[in-house]
């Protein structure tokens, strides 16, 4: 995809988002209530109307080839960039989904191990020390020092003895 195509797709996407928010805002009163000022839907409605107009302006400028992006025929996301960025986003996605099932600490172990060993191709020493060190640091900082419990899902019972120890 070229930058020029991406600019067009993005302008259309932002217009669709604006319309969706405008439509959602009409659930509440969007007009001027006499003696009271704007209704509760007015602020989001008129702001998203503005978003729609701004996106439309970008679209017009695309047709006129007025912006550098609308003239650029370079690739939007190169193959190498797509690989690095795609793998990172995919790994975070996996981290969040896994957190729902096996809890954040075990998800972190898998995420860090994968990233360091297979994306970064680091030595076993670096991989293992970060993979173990970061979750331990997070646990000490959040659960122990600040008492902010992080989601543990089914791995929760494994932590009971640790709770007994630290609290």
């Amino acid at each position: 995809m070229t930058v020029r195509t991406a600019e067009l797709v993005m302008a259309i996407a932002t217009m669709l988002i604006s319309i969706a928010i405008m439509w959602k805002s009409t659930e509440l009163s969007i007009g001027w209530v006499p003696q009271k000022g704007p209704g509760s839907g007015a602020w989001p409605f008129w702001l998203s109307t503005g978003m729609l107009l701004a996106s439309a302006a970008t679209l017009v400028r695309w047709f006129l080839r007025a912006t550098p992006e609308s003239r650029s025929e370079e690739t939007y996301i190169s193959r190498t960039a797509f690989y690095v960025v795609g793998v990172s986003v995919g790994a975070i996605l996996f981290l969040l989904i896994a957190t729902n099932f096996i809890g954040i600490y075990f998800a972190l172990l898998l995420f860090l191990f994968f990233y360091l060993r297979f994306v970064g191709r680091h030595s076993w020493t670096t991989t293992l020390s970060v993979t173990i060190g970061v979750p331990v640091f997070i646990f000490c900082m959040f659960e122990w020092a600040l008492t902010i419990p992080l989601p543990k899902a089914i791995s929760e019972p494994l932590f009971y003895p640790i709770y007994d120890l630290i609290y």
């Binding site: 659960e143 902010i148 419990p149 929760e156 709770y163």
Partner: protein, 328 residues
Amino acid sequence: MSIARRGMLALVGALGIGAVAASAPGVAQAWEPQKPVEFVIMAGQGGGADKMARLMQTVIEKNGWSSKPLTPINKPGGSGAEALVHLKTKGGSDPDHTIMVTLNSFYTTPLRQPGLGVDIATFTPIARMAEDTFLLWVHKDSGITNIEEFVVAAKEAGNDWVMAGTGKLQEDQLLTDFLNAAYGLNMKYVPYKGGGKVAKQLAGQHANSTVNNPSEQEGFYASGDTVPLAAFTPDRLELFPDAPTFRELGQDFVYFMQRSVVGAPGMSDEAAAYYRELFQKVYESEDWQAYRKKKSLYGDFLSDQALMDYWMTEREIHKAMLSEMGAL
């Protein structure tokens, strides 16, 4: 309540605790939380409910009454709707480690948003820790010193009379509507975020009157900036002996803000008993009693079925008030 009756109650209470303590070893091993207890606060940081919740947490931690920490988390979203939904969800997965500090939006929010599918009758009653009081306040520069002058001034101003309060269709607006109806007024209600902000609007004369809790106005009251005209309580408050009650003024109207602790629906009986005992200890602690006295709080300790009955009565009262306002 007479002193003799109070003494009797205290005695019965003490015996009760004694009995529980004596029988404890017999009940296998008493229930204890296995992990940190989530302590949801149904309001934002810095508000009345938040302050009380943090005081309760502090009393528990100071005395080491809980083997696992209570972790406070504010969920003010949607007038408490988010907190209620959260508690309901927790009821399905882990009912024994989630408790919540509530106020009157506990009744009004599920009534106004039936789509949430929350029925407070399914929640586990733990403890009512206090009831906060309301008074009607004006600025001293208005020259108003009693309710008659207030009514005259507010009538004259009509729709220009600004009553500041916290949140739409909540406690402060219920009281404003009552005043409007009772005295034939047409005050304009302007909502703000939090009782402290409301108190400041009055002190800066950006509003003509408010219905703040004593703890929100007492700083300005002490410096002489604001004046309490009347109290929404059955008896005059010790802190403000010059403010008559609305009952004395011929309006039979009493309104409180509950400060209670509620457990997730489906909490096991053992866990509920544990939390009830824990909060009874907090209630009886010196710190809590001193705080109650200083803020002239009402409402004795209620628990279990008695608390549930209280909720059901209050829910009916709020239902009636809200439908009168056309909010249902």
